[in-house]
Amino acid sequence: MTGRPSLVSVVDDDESVRESLPDLLRQWGFAAEAFSSAEAFLASEVLGETSCLLLDIVMPGMSGPDLQQELTRRRRKIPIVFITGHEEMPRSPLLVDGAAGCLVKPFSEAALLDAVSAALRGQILDP
């Protein structure tokens, strides 16, 4: 990793996630920004700089998949790693839609790092 560190944006309505995830990401040398809603992320200046998006699926207002669709519509190809607290959420439709990964809470440090690294490498996980 040279030059400016890659920016990883976290969109989650859970404050504890917004607090803890960016700190961990920064420990690995990423730049990190947190947003409490999809709408806030879309409105932010970092939209164009984001290299990877850690996106909560279930949120009040615009959901994770909604944001994904919106980004596709705007032709913004940001690799997305979905985060969900709900194990039973089906992964396949999201991944087919081009998600780079999906993390089910609680997830380990290693799982997070693997998912983010893979996303940044532009890998799309097999469904």
Partner: protein
């Protein structure tokens, strides 16, 4: 007439003196005296048809005077009304045979006897007319005839046949009804024996005895004894009498008749026709017997069907009457006479005291009594009975209780079964609603867990850095602890929801109860992108209730609301939870959704068990919620919103009159 007419005597003398000289003269003088003293008018008419002599009574009663002597009767004014008198005299003179004529003179009636007076030559020398005044007699006869006709007319209108029989019990005289009824003509009545009438129906011993007694020549005393009600004069009922009017039934009744101057006894026989009355009575008897039979059958059947027996108890004598059904309920042989002791023997030992106190209340004159008790049957099974008794006073003024006893065992068993089923259902509902929450709960727990892992990882990395970022490590360690506490709070809430099974009454703040439920459901709502807005009033009074049960209700309402908005895509999915204090110091909670709404016609059914508009629901949630709220003396209802959606509300009194039946609440 005071004048003693010498001429009359002279004439009289003259008449008789012709043959017998002195002696005759004396005899004639005596005769004259005698004749004058007789109160009957006597007139002598000579052969030449002239009045020869008359006595004093003739002068007085007929008005003859001396000038009439030598006159022909037709010329005498006193005889003006005596039509045919002279002709009759002529006939007697001619034939020498006495004759009588009835003549009327003015208002008086006379019977005139015309007797020939024969001379020595056997020739009728004169006729002697004696005038008997029969005016009074004739009047009496006329009166008697008149009265007889009246009586006859009256008797002929009497519907019952009446007949007078002679000593041989043969019909003498009957009223019209008698002749028409028995088809006897007036001519043949004399020959008709009473016993031949009606095809011989009256030929029976009691009637013969009676009639023979009636016509027997008895002394007045004997008659009086008989009339005083002796057996001989008891009316006799005679059935199947063949008459001109068909077969009839009579009560035959006789009375002895005795007529002054008649030695023969007769009896009046009255045939009282009771055919119609008898038929009506028979019909009525049949009807009332049938009605009584039906009514008894109804009662017995009703008692059997309703498992209700009845008994009466006379307090003074302890005499007991039991209905059949009560025998069946007590399983006592119907042949056994029931006593209070037998009754007590069946009663469950634990209820004997209660029964004694009931009996004591009854002896003290309680008017209405109602009690429940149990029977312990020989096979150790238990029957539950419900008794209601009412005090009455019999005709003898004795205190008597009438009681109805119903076997409510079936009902009790059903009630217990129902309570168990309800309890099971409530449990199912609880498990179901909690099951649905599992995902939400899992999220509640994974959220802090996730934070703990991330924060602890960050913390380690900060410590491992060179130089270590101690401030950052401290911060992340604090967050780790905070998330740990958050997770343990979730566990505590879950424990509260799962662990308590018994119903517990405690003072509650409905807002706090509501917040706890919201905390548990919030993530589930978020997952479904439902916005929950809570507007909890600050001034809520404390209510008394069961925390877990009320939380189940709120949970249920939130879940319903969440389901209602699940299919909404064109507007905000929103639930608004409101608590408020209403005017009656009741605490109210509302859950308003912006969902698809409920058809007005379905709104009424929403609270019924197993009613559901959802494909995956049991339809129990609202029904159970309603029972819970009712047990809190509150009510639960649903209304359609002005805008889209439905609002479910419940209200609970803040000062309950006492939640009376904790046991029954425990079923839920």
């Amino acid at each position: 007439m005071t004048e003693r007419p010498a001429t009359f005597r002279a004439r009289w003398n003259g008449l008789k003196a012709g043959g017998n000289g002195e002696t005759a003269h004396e005899v004639t003088a005596d005769l004259t005296s005698i004749l004058d003293s007789v109160d009957v008018p006597i007139v002598v008419v000579g052969r030449e048809l002239t009045v020869a002599a008359f006595n004093q009574a003739a002068a007085d009663a007929l008005g003859l005077c001396l000038a009439d002597i030598g006159q022909r009767p037709r010329d005498i004014s006193a005889f003006a009304g005596f039509t045919g008198l002279e002709e009759s005299c002529t006939e007697v003179i001619t034939r020498g045979v006495e004759s009588r004529i009835d003549v009327r003179a003015e208002a008086a009636w006379f019977v005139v006897r015309i007797s020939p007076s024969t001379s020595a030559s056997d020739q009728v020398a004169a006729v002697v007319l004696t005038f008997t005044d029969v005016t009074a007699f004739r009047a009496a006869v006329d009166q008697a005839i008149y009265e007889r006709e009246c009586t006859k007319a009256i008797l002929n209108t009497v519907a019952d046949p009446l007949v007078v029989v002679d000593a041989d019990q043969r019909a003498q005289s009957g009223n019209r009804s008698f002749y028409t009824m028995f088809g006897v003509s007036a001519e043949e009545r004399q020959r008709t024996s009473l016993y031949e009438l009606g095809d011989g129906a009256f030929d029976c011993a009691p009637l013969r005895t009676q009639l023979q007694a009636a016509v027997a020549a008895l002394s007045l005393e004997q008659l009086r004894d008989l009339l005083g009600g002796g057996p001989g004069f008891q009316p006799v009922e005679v059935d199947h009498v063949v008459t001109a009017k068909g077969e009839r039934t009579f009560i035959v009744d006789s009375r002895p008749l005795s007529f002054p101057g008649h030695s023969e006894r007769r009896a009046l026989v009255r045939f009282h026709d009771i055919t119609t009355r008898k038929q009506a009575q028979a019909a009525k008897d049949m009807r009332s017997e049938e009605e009584l039979r039906r009514s008894e059958a109804f009662l017995a059947e009703g008692q059997r069907l309703s498992s209700t027996g009845s008994f009466s108890w006379k307090v003074a004598t302890d005499a007991i009457t039991w209905s059949e059904q009560l025998y069946r309920m007590y399983e006592i042989d119907m042949d056994v006479a029931v006593t209070l002791a037998a009754l007590r023997a069946r009663v469950h030992p634990d209820d004997l005291g209660l029964l004694e106190s009931i009996f004591q209340q009854a002896r003290d004159g309680a008017n209405d009594l109602e009690w429940h008790y149990r029977l312990l049957m020989p096979d150790r099974s238990i029957k539950f009975l419900h008794a209601v008794a009412h005090a009455t006073r019999g005709q003898d003024g004795q205190l008597e209780y009438l009681a109805a006893i119903q076997d409510v065992t079936g009902r009790r068993v059903s009630e217990e079964a129902l309570a168990k089923a309800r309890s099971k259902l409530a449990n199912v509902a609880r498990v179901t609603s909690l099951g649905v929450l599992t995902a939400s709960i899992a999220h509640e727990i994974t959220q802090p867990l996730s934070g703990i892992i991330t924060n602890a990882s960050t913390c380690l990395r900060m410590l491992d850095a060179d130089p270590p970022n101690l401030a950052g490590a401290r911060e992340t360690a604090r967050r780790t602890i905070r998330d740990g506490i958050r997770g343990s709070d979730v566990i505590t809430r879950l424990r509260a929801l799962f662990s308590r099974e018994e119903y517990t009454l405690e003072p509650l703040d409905l807002n706090e109860v509501t917040r706890e439920v919201i905390a548990l459901t919030l993530s589930d709502l978020h997952r479904n992108r439902i916005a929950l807005q809570s507007e909890l009033a600050d001034d809520l009074p404390t209510i008394t209730g069961d925390r877990v049960q009320l939380q189940q209700v709120i949970l249920n309402l939130l879940r319903n609301g969440s389901d209602a908005v699940a299919d909404v895509h064109d507007r905000r999915r929103q639930l608004i939870v409101t608590t408020e204090r209403d005017k009656n110091d009741e605490v109210r909670l509302r859950v308003r959704d912006t969902g698809v709404g409920v058809d007005p016609e379905n709104l009424n059914h929403l609270l019924e068990a197993f009613y559901t508009t959802k494909s995956d629901g049991l339809g129990l949630g609202l029904s159970i919620s309603q029972s819970i709220i009712e047990r809190h003396h509150g009510r639960l209802w649903a209304e359609s919103n002005d805008g889209p959606g439905t609002t479910f509300s419940f209200s609970i009194p803040s000062r309950p009159t006492g939640i009376s039946d904790p046991a029954s609440m425990g079923h839920l």
